[in-house]
């Protein structure tokens, strides 16, 4: 750990990585709770995987793969949302199809692009150590968009995730807000891809929020706790991976998984103790 701290002071690339993790953790906090309480992690997983299509197209046609990812994420979010709103039952199939089709498109593009193997690995599992300054600004812009949207509309998002029918009765534009929420999930996926890669995104999106949900009792409490947990997990995973030279993305995810397990056990124990005390 001491080695990591002195390296952070000396190495600018580690400082960039740390900053990227912190920027990504805002996504854990702002959007993760909605994904968890609305139980749409499969949907978020579909968006995350379909993103490879956009990244592959970016690599092949020579534009920034992150822009490709952003486009693909937003398109698949809207597609899945539209399928759900139009035919409630088709959602599951649509998610599975987009999941696989997006990846297939991406793999085909990447296979036709020279030097594809390294790109593919960093798309899939992240490359937090190689985040250029330009992408930090891109991540900051995504954070700003998330902050604005959630700051202005968090009551509405709570209404839509809590009780859709009642919200509709009260004149809340439920369908529009649902689509907007999915677009925000898409932005969050793109925000996190640089850190842990598209395969592991789903863990960073849900685990901090799920842990927060075990210890807090409001969406806003979950947001604050999940943001802090996300910051701790990305920084901690980065630090743990540094000395043994492990890939940081998977290390962050394993750390999150381990902490989730501990948190779930502790929360269960606390419930049992509480029940004993009450008699």
């Amino acid at each position: 750990m001491g080695e990591f701290l002195s390296a952070v002071v000396e190495q600018p690339f580690l400082r960039q990585a740390l900053l990227a993790g912190l920027l990504a953790s805002l996504g854990c906090g702002l959007i993760g709770p909605f994904v968890v309480v609305k139980r749409i992690s499969f949907l978020a997983g579909g968006i995350a995987h379909s993103v490879l299509g956009g990244m592959g197209a970016g690599a092949y046609f020579g534009f920034d793969p992150l822009l490709g990812a952003l486009g693909a994420a937003v398109v698949s979010a809207l597609l899945i949302g539209w399928v759900r709103l139009a035919w409630r039952t088709g959602e599951d199939t649509a998610i599975g199809a987009l999941w696989a089709i997006g990846m297939a498109v991406g793999i085909l593009f990447i296979s036709q692009t020279p030097g594809y193997a390294t790109d593919l690995m960093s798309f899939l599992f992240g490359s937090i150590l190689l985040v250029p300054t330009r992408e930090l600004w891109f991540m900051a812009a995504l954070d700003l968009a998330l902050l604005l949207a959630v700051g202005l509309l968090y009551r509405h998002f709570i209404a839509v995730t809590f009780d859709e029918e009642f919200a509709r009765l009260r004149g809340v534009p439920v369908s529009t807000l649902y689509l907007l929420l999915l677009v925000l999930v898409a932005l969050t996926v793109v925000l996190m891809i640089q850190v842990v890669g598209l395969i592991l995104v789903i863990a960073l999106l849900t685990l901090p929020a799920a842990m927060a949900g075990q210890w807090t009792h409001s969406i806003t409490g979950m947001m604050a706790t999940a943001t802090l947990l996300g910051a701790g997990l990305t920084s901690g995973g980065l630090a743990l991976s540094y000395a043994p030279d492990l890939p940081p993305g998977p290390t962050i995810i394993l750390l999150a998984g381990a902490l989730y397990l501990v948190s779930a056990l502790a929360a269960g124990l606390r419930r049992r103790l509480g029940r004993l005390q009450r008699g």
Binding site: G151, F162, L169, R170, H217, S218
Partner: protein, 269 residues
């Protein structure tokens, strides 16, 4: 606006795909009434409520609510569903649940009456007035002490009070309840109906119930619904006559409609 009937339904029919659920329903609920709607399971009670709320469109016929088309009157209705559309483990407090009906009230009361408003789009945090209205609604259902509780920790009776407070916090002119006492014991059922009777002093109330014997002591009028409006008593009546009337009508259904199981259920359920 106050001279218009609270609910005015003319020759209303509704079917799901090819299955007729309601046929030729005529119902007029005057402002200030406390109407009980009773009838067998699958007799169309909940469907009628959903039509009045504008959640479903009639196949034919006309519904006006508070002098407006149903979908537009929605915001002036307080609604207590039979099965709330949320899960009890959602991380939310009682106060926040009650606040959920403060959407749709526009930016101010002046804007509320205006044309072309976009309800529900007020941004940012809840206002003082919203929190005050939620507190007042909780106090009115004698549940002010619950305001900070997690909804998951409430008993059945407490939950019912909170759902009633959620309906009241929008300051509605018409209160619609779908089986408000289906899952709670008799004593609490009595308390809830006492509350409704008190609310009826300032609100029109429409309540669906399977328990005709019970509600008869509270409502001003009963409508029996089985596909169509079978009885429609306009006189103030006591429990005994309703029971007799309901029984007669059930026998009547028995003759007209083949499935005796349903009629049997209606007579005893």
């Amino acid at each position: 606006m106050s001279t218009a009937a609270a609910v005015d339904i003319q020759q209303l029919s509704f079917s799901y795909a090819a299955t007729p659920v309601l046929q030729g329903v005529d119902l007029r609920v005057a402002s200030g009434e406390f109407l009980g709607i009773v009838g067998p399971n699958a007799g169309g009670k909940s469907t009628l409520l959903r039509l009045i709320l504008g959640l479903l469109k009639p196949s034919s016929g006309r519904i006006r609510v508070l002098g407006e088309p149903a979908w537009r009157a929605r915001r002036r209705i307080g609604y207590v569903p039979q099965y709330p559309g949320f899960s009890r483990d959602f991380p939310i407090s009682v106060e926040e649940v009650v606040l959920m009906s403060r959407f749709g009230l526009g930016l101010s009361s002046k804007r509320r009456a205006g044309e072309g408003e976009r309800p529900g789009l007020r941004l940012g945090r809840w206002r003082r007035t919203d929190r005050d209205a939620a507190a007042a609604a909780l106090a009115e259902v004698e549940a002010a002490d619950l305001h900070g509780r997690q909804i998951g920790t409430l008993s059945g009776g407490q939950m019912q009070r909170v759902l009633l407070a959620r309906a009241l916090a929008s300051e509605p002119e018409l209160l619609i309840l779908d089986e408000p006492t289906a899952n709670i014991d008799q004593r609490i059922e009595g308390e809830i109906f006492e509350l409704l009777a008190a609310l009826n002093r300032r609100l029109t109330i429409l309540v669906v119930s399977h328990d005709i014997g019970f509600i008869s002591g509270y409502v001003t009028r009963v409508a029996c619904l089985n596909r169509t409006l079978i009885c429609h008593t306009t006189d103030a009546i006591d429990g005994q006559t309703i029971r007799a009337l309901y029984g007669e009508d059930v026998r009547h259904i028995h003759h007209d409609h083949p499935p005796p199981a349903e009629a049997h259920e209606a007579a005893h359920g």
